[in-house]
Symmetry: C2
Subunit: 403 residues, 2 copies
């Protein structure tokens, strides 16, 4: 059995995790032969051979011994540069950078094809949950109807604190930051961008379609108020930040990320704390639910290990669904039923509602339950956010108990 | 893109499901070119071209056009004969027959290797949940600690009726039979053999080890009494029929199938009705939970479709873990803490307990909570069953919240 020689980019939380995981696995035929970091002399928590470190990407990319580049750096622009260069040189790559992938997948897929070289990235979406691989290999038919889930652990941790432990939102956010779940700038997590980038990647493997992030409605939880939490509690539901891609007809699919009122009969209702949960629904296979740790050093590193091991068998994504003759088109021309809470401003004058079911006014806050088109939400997103409006999805796309 | 030409053996519930699923998938490059059944003239619920049917296996196996044999017949002996002959002729096979596979895997793996031909069988374990494929491909390292789950939908349906709907056991069994979940001879499901055969197959892909079914302790739910159900309800737990393979040390693993008292904090607590749920635990990836429909015509057929599609890309199991240099050995020399309920007989005189924690006597029934070795249970299994003893596992192998 050959041994894969790895050039590692990045030695932060995940990079150190990979080093540890490879050390623990007695049968992993892989070794790290070089580690590129910004500052090779910085002291590290995990002991690694000092001679492996370099600050020069070229020292890795020009080393003919390197069979595989594993890229787990934080900076999307630097990640893109390294991944692109490695692939153009014919070196296969394992990457965990969802921001970079969500922005550059079409080009990186084209380079893979032209150069006959593999790029694997299962760790980029939902950490240890094997979503990409299963969509690519196991659900590799055209019967898929929906992928829906909680894809971001930090925002879910905050919402769990609020709902299960009665914390207030600001305290929960602080706790998440102290535990290292939320970044020092937490907007990436709580505004939904992390979930969005994962959804873009998932959709490539779910339906064979790439949709650029800016075309997708994304609304986070930063505008949540006590009145929203109270409302949800009274109705016996939890507020979760949910990403979904849904086939709304044979010809069309839609995608969005936004808070949702989740009833206790749904699988994702019980996905709490920093966990992720994904429901895959198909025409014949009903619903599959996958649940696990979506982030963290060792769960993410073990997902990277799966991609490394796959390379021992020359595995690559085939992007099979991109070659299907009949593929659905992306649409935002669908109607969602939503809850919209507002205070200062008058939401019915911002959003053109198709139909209003309920309106509530009080000194404290106002809300409306109404139908609105997704394209309308997308067009008004920035204004809604700046006016401190909270939105939650109430739509059921499938009449039976959905996910 | 080439089109796979399928020779189908069996046109029962699953066979008809495959015919339907292939019809619904516009991008499935596969067609059925022959169907072997015992009685080709029998009327069928699903309309298929009459000219495809034959009663002669040779008409399929000798047809040079056939690229793939899909075998979904009920009879394990006939299944073995067909699968073996097909593989020896170099024709790849997709099979869903867990009984046959659990008994003959070592020989069938050897034939695959010698003849360079593939045998796929993801549908054999947990229907639509992709357990085998994930263990083989994604968890293809040596960090796995445990696979544990509810692998049989019929027995779980019965137990759900009893716990969630207050039905009594006999009524629940009758209901399961009326709904087609339990066979007319339900012992296969409720005595744990169906779960056992799936566990044998799963263990080949989880740890690279084959253990013959007769070496594995298997105890079902047929001896359950009202007093057991009452006891479990009082303790706030559910009784589930659980199959598990567990690494108990670096050198050893154990396996068994038996009822378990499941507390509400476990993932499998919420696996109700005819659903299956599997927890995969590893050293670094923590726990993954997969949940879905374990049986039924279309869920099983869609799993078969995944295997058929995999053949379009020449996929085969590599049985990677069988080649690991350091593999754990099977042991039954471990201690389990159990609940044993008895009435007529005196269990402490049948089973040699290591330690007794609780004993309860009443006119109605008696029970004991005690430590006992798995080898002792295996040796006394038939006697316990014949004496109407009910057993439930209480052991926690991992101190944190396990599955």
């Amino acid at each position: 059995m050959r041994k894969i020689k790895i050039g590692l980019f990045g030695f932060g939380v995940v990079g150190q995790g990979i080093h540890q995981v490879l050390g623990r696995s007695k049968n992993a035929n892989a070794e790290i032969i070089g580690i590129c970091v910004r500052n090779p002399d910085k002291p590290r928590a995990v002991a690694a051979d000092r001679s492996l470190f370099t600050a020069s990407p070229d020292a890795i990319l020009d080393n003919p011994e390197v069979d595989l580049v594993v890229e787990v750096i934080d900076d999307a622009a630097a990640s893109y540069d390294i991944v692109r260069r490695a692939l153009l040189k014919g070196i296969p790559v394992v990457s965990g950078n969802k921001t970079m992938l969500a922005r550059h997948l079409p080009e990186l897929i084209a380079i893979q094809k032209e150069n006959g070289v593999a790029l694997l990235y299962d760790a980029s979406s939902c950490g240890s949950i094997p979503v990409i691989r299963n969509l690519e290999e196991y659900y590799d038919n055209d019967l898929l109807l929906e992928v829906k889930g909680i894809l971001n652990g930090s925002s879910n941790y905050i919402l769990s604190r609020v709902f299960d432990h009665g914390a207030d939102y600001a305290d929960a956010l602080r706790q998440a930051q102290e535990l290292g779940f939320a970044e020092s700038d937490p907007s990436f997590d709580i505004e939904g961008y992390d979930s969005l980038f994962k959804l873009v990647i998932i959709t490539v493997h779910a339906l064979g379609a790439y949709v650029a992030p800016e075309r997708i409605f994304t609304y986070g939880i930063s505008t949540i108020h006590d009145s929203d939490i109270r409302y949800a509690r009274e109705k016996g539901v939890k507020i979760k930040l949910v990403a979904q891609v849904v086939k709304v007809s044979d010809e069309c699919f839609t995608m969005f990320v936004m808070p949702e009122f989740v009833t206790p009969d749904k699988y994702i209702y019980s996905v709490d704390d920093e966990y992720n949960g994904v429901v895959i629904r198909g025409e014949c296979y009903d619903r599959q639910f996958m649940f696990g740790k979506g982030a963290g050093s060792l769960p993410t590193a073990s997902s990277i290990l799966s991609d490394i091991m796959a390379r021992l068998h020359d595995y690559r994504y085939e992007y099979k669904k991109m070659n299907f003759l009949q593929k659905p088109d992306y649409t935002t021309e669908i109607t969602l039923r939503i809850y919209a809470r507002y205070s200062e401003t008058d939401v019915p004058h911002i959003l053109r509602f198709d139909r209003i079911y309920e309106q509530y006014y009080s000194d404290d806050s106002n809300y409306v339950i109404a139908d609105v088109s997704l394209s309308e939400l997308l067009a008004k997103r920035d204004r809604l956010r700046s006016e401190d409006v909270f939105l939650a999805n109430l739509t059921r796309f499938f009449q039976d108990r959905d996910c």
